[in-house]
């Protein structure tokens, strides 16, 4: 998108040399032993984030524009702060993500053309939803139907079991966390 297009939609255009860094959460899938890990957008039907591959945005709503388009909601999302992510559905991984190419900055985040995670850590989604810090460190990763992996702290694993949320297998969370970072060649998120 060039200067004229930016003017057409009434937005300013700025050119930067460094990628934008933003917050993001992902869902996680893998095998029952914690292998074959794959980051997935929390919007289930969106494209997976494969290890060591740049993710490129596309728009399923329209083939007529490139993603991200200012008049659409397409693009790879990241947010300025953690708080807005607490409303996302089933987050399993929290991280910092690099965004580049064409990036549209919004009031609370970004939509980008290209992205790749920079730092990752597993989170207990129930802690993350409820607490101000990112959440207690999960101790287990539960393996659920459709290969969904859900990290849980001790307290919320007990609570989940009492409410019929029964993992078919459990893997130590620290092993999955390390394997995820090795696989994606990223550093740990220290929060």
């Amino acid at each position: 998108m060039g200067d004229r297009a930016a003017t057409r939609v009434g937005l300013g255009l700025e050119r930067l040399a460094e990628p934008v860094i933003a917050w993001r959460t992902w869902a996680l899938t893998g095998r029952r032993d914690g292998s074959a890990l794959l980051l997935r957008p929390v919007a289930r039907k969106a494209r997976t984030w494969r290890p060591r591959e740049v993710v490129q945005a596309s728009c399923r709503a329209s083939l007529l524009h490139e993603a991200p388009d200012p008049a659409c909601t397409c693009g790879l999302h990241g947010t300025h702060t953690l708080d807005i992510l607490r409303r996302t559905r089933c987050p399993a991984v929290l991280g910092r993500v690099a965004l580049w190419g064409r990036v549209i900055e919004h009031e609370h985040g970004f939509r980008a053309q290209y992205a790749y995670p920079q730092r990752l850590r597993l989170i207990c989604q129930f802690c993350f939803w409820m607490t101000t810090p990112p959440g207690l460190t999960p101790v287990h990763v539960g393996w659920f139907p459709r290969d969904e992996l859900i990290p849980l702290c001790e307290r919320h694993l007990r609570l989940a079991r009492r409410n019929g949320m029964l993992p078919r297998a459990l893997v130590p969370a620290d092993e999955v966390d390390q394997h995820l970072r090795d696989l994606y060649a990223v550093d740990a998120l220290a929060v």
């Binding site: 998108m1 930016a6 939609v9 937005l11 300013g12 255009l13 700025e14 050119r15 930067l16 040399a17 460094e18 990628p19 934008v20 060591r52 591959e53 740049v54 200012p70 999302h77 947010t79 807005i84 992510l85 409303r87 996302t88 690099a98 965004l99 580049w100 190419g101 064409r102 990036v103 549209i104 900055e105 919004h106 009031e107 609370h108 985040g109 970004f110 939509r111 053309q113 290209y114 790749y116 994606y184 060649a185 990223v186």
Partner: protein
């Protein structure tokens, strides 16, 4: 996820950045200097 109204467009080149692990490989090891050639021992000139 509602990230509010768009404010500006940013263009960040290059379109692709190196991924972790794709950065420049470590410098090739410096080859050790070759062993100095063993000088031949002086041979006494033969008589005659």
């Amino acid at each position: 996820m509602n990230i509010g109204q768009p404010k500006r467009i940013i263009e960040i080149e290059p379109a692709t950045l190196p991924l972790p692990g794709e950065l420049e490989p470590a410098a090739a090891p410096v080859p050790l200097p070759e062993e100095p050639a063993v000088e031949p021992e002086p041979v006494a000139p033969s008589d005659g």
